[in-house]
Point group: C2
Chain length 344, copies 2
């Protein structure tokens, strides 16, 4: 296993303002401390765990986590372009691993990984794949949390060089994850998706993994909102929250809290409370599928106070009920709507 604990992997040590954005819900492994959140000058905070976060995380790291310590204004360049490769390209597939244990992977995800010659991903996710599968790969390329862009680029370069490559992430590749990034980088290299027969293998997103742990909280029209403002301005996030909180959507909140973005959490709670009653049920699932998984039911009025607890961090998904959601037998239930037609 190509174990590389330097942020940005072995090819490029200057990933400055990059953050990891993966769908939340998988366990984060502490990587022995290589990155500090230098760009946002949050002193004494980074600790020694995975890049870009102060404690544990698997989803989006804090804004501008610095990997390798370069300044936050350095624009990264894509190195190799398609003309640098002579071999016929291999295949590139983006695989969603689901919630964070082998059980939660689809059969297709497993067979795709078994067929791959190279498997690329964030260290924690590579570790989730059963040994029986990773042992079949020629090479594993894993990096700590920082380095999503360079890691994706590495995967693409390997495919362009003629290898069949699978790049993995938790949840689903279309949920705050790597599918879009892979296509953008392919284009920037002058390659095409077709050239590498690019495919996306879907997985169970965190909203549904966490929803399953809470009972039946989602059920009808539902929305996912990320509180990470690294790539999306907070004003837009606020606007989106207002829009959906004022309608009957059940809401799954990804990347809810980090030490440097407490304000986003507080603001989000305020916005939700403007539109929904304080007794609206809210489910909090920390580390779904991990050994330290924790599930708690609370209410909108109490939600903000959880920000300072261990329960809410980057591995947490928060599910906010709508006005019909209720708690029964320790489960969140959002009715389908049949109760007006059926006497039950």
């Amino acid at each position: 296993m190509n174990d590389d604990t330097t942020c940005g992997g072995s090819t490029d040590g200057t990933n400055s303002t990059e953050t990891e954005t993966e769908s939340s819900g998988c366990g984060a492994k502490t990587d022995g401390g290589t990155a500090a959140e230098a760009a946002e000058a949050d002193t004494g905070s980074a600790g020694s765990s995975a890049c870009g976060a102060s404690s544990s995380n698997t989803s989006e790291g804090d804004s501008a986590s610095a990997c390798g310590g370069a300044s936050s204004d350095t624009k990264e360049k894509v190195d190799a372009s398609v003309d640098d490769f002579e071999a016929d390209p291999g295949r590139l597939v983006a695989v969603g691993l689901g919630p964070g244990h082998a059980d939660g992977m689809t059969a297709r995800a497993k067979s795709t990984l078994a067929d791959a010659e190279h498997i690329v991903g964030y260290t924690t996710y590579i570790d989730l794949i059963p040994d029986g599968i990773t042992e079949q790969a020629d090479e594993l390329y894993d990096t700590p949390m920082c380095g999503e862009v360079s890691r994706t680029e590495e995967a693409i370069d390997r495919a362009l060089a003629g290898n069949d490559v699978a790049i993995v992430g938790s949840g689903d590749p279309n949920v705050y994850a790597l599918a879009g990034l892979a296509l953008e980088i392919l284009e920037s290299k002058g390659a095409t998706a077709s050239m590498v027969e690019f495919e996306v293998v879907p997985g169970v997103p965190a909203a549904q993994s966490c929803g399953a742990r809470l009972g039946a909280p989602l059920v009808n029209d539902s929305v996912s909102v990320s509180l990470s403002d690294h790539l999306t301005p907070m004003e837009e996030i606020e606007s989106r929250l207002h829009a959906v909180a004022g309608e009957g959507f059940t809401i799954s909140i990804y990347n809810p809290w980090s030490r440097k973005r407490r304000e986003n959490w507080e603001t989000a709670c305020e916005i939700l409370r403007e539109h929904r009653a304080d007794d609206t049920p809210v489910g909090i699932v920390h580390g779904a599928g991990r050994e330290d998984e924790a599930v708690e039911l609370t209410t909108l009025g109490e939600l903000e106070s959880y920000g300072e607890t261990d329960l809410v961090d980057m591995t947490t998904t928060v599910v906010v009920g709508n006005e019909e959601t209720y708690v029964w037998d320790d489960r969140m239930v959002t009715p389908r709507g049949y109760e007006t037609k059926y006497d039950y």
Copy 2:
């Protein structure tokens, strides 16, 4: 296999205004014609296919599809209550099968089904489960599309009677599907979820299965909206569409079209066009995972015209891009947002 083609299964022949609401994306099998859409007096339309729809469908059937022909105002009663059972209850688990082929099932879904003594579900979904798994069950109880409420009740009764029961649906049980209904019916019977150790096994929802076929259309904040107004008033659906179309959400539309709800489709397209440019990319995926799967990319300005084609029906998911979505190499790409920070 307990093959019962009468709508509502073998216990109750009077399911009148019930409709099937499953997450779209799985193949519908024609059931040989037992129901007419009597309640909405759509003469000459029902044809002979699955209950409640005129052609093929797996997700929500038309409003007020009549199974067994009872009037649409008959309120259904839940029959058995928990006191009617003497045995210790068995287990009840709701299992999401994903997009519609064995490949797309998680390992946990398969092992859960292999452990079940009884497997209950809509006929088409039961057929998706590999024989090797269904052969291990003591009993299979499948019904055509109509009958979601009675089928769920049947599953619960069997669990209360002491059997370990799995009730299946396509996609995920928390996405326009059976998790909420199961909990509601348990409560109505005076039972508790804990009594049957109720669990939800998540699956890949149609939004992500279809998103995967389109490339990377979802990526950031995203919403699912169903155009079925059987259980939700159309005014609410319109309000929700306005709310999200005016913000940067990528939008997955479930249950987009049926012959009796053409207006909903037309209205939805109009609303989307009020807020988004006519050249906004839209992806249409019909029958994801089925043999007749069809994928097409179009634009918002052209979308409405697809309503009358075979491409758009109840097995279709429509994915609407946001203002940043573009089409490249025949794929929808919604950028993550890194392009402002990285020179690629």
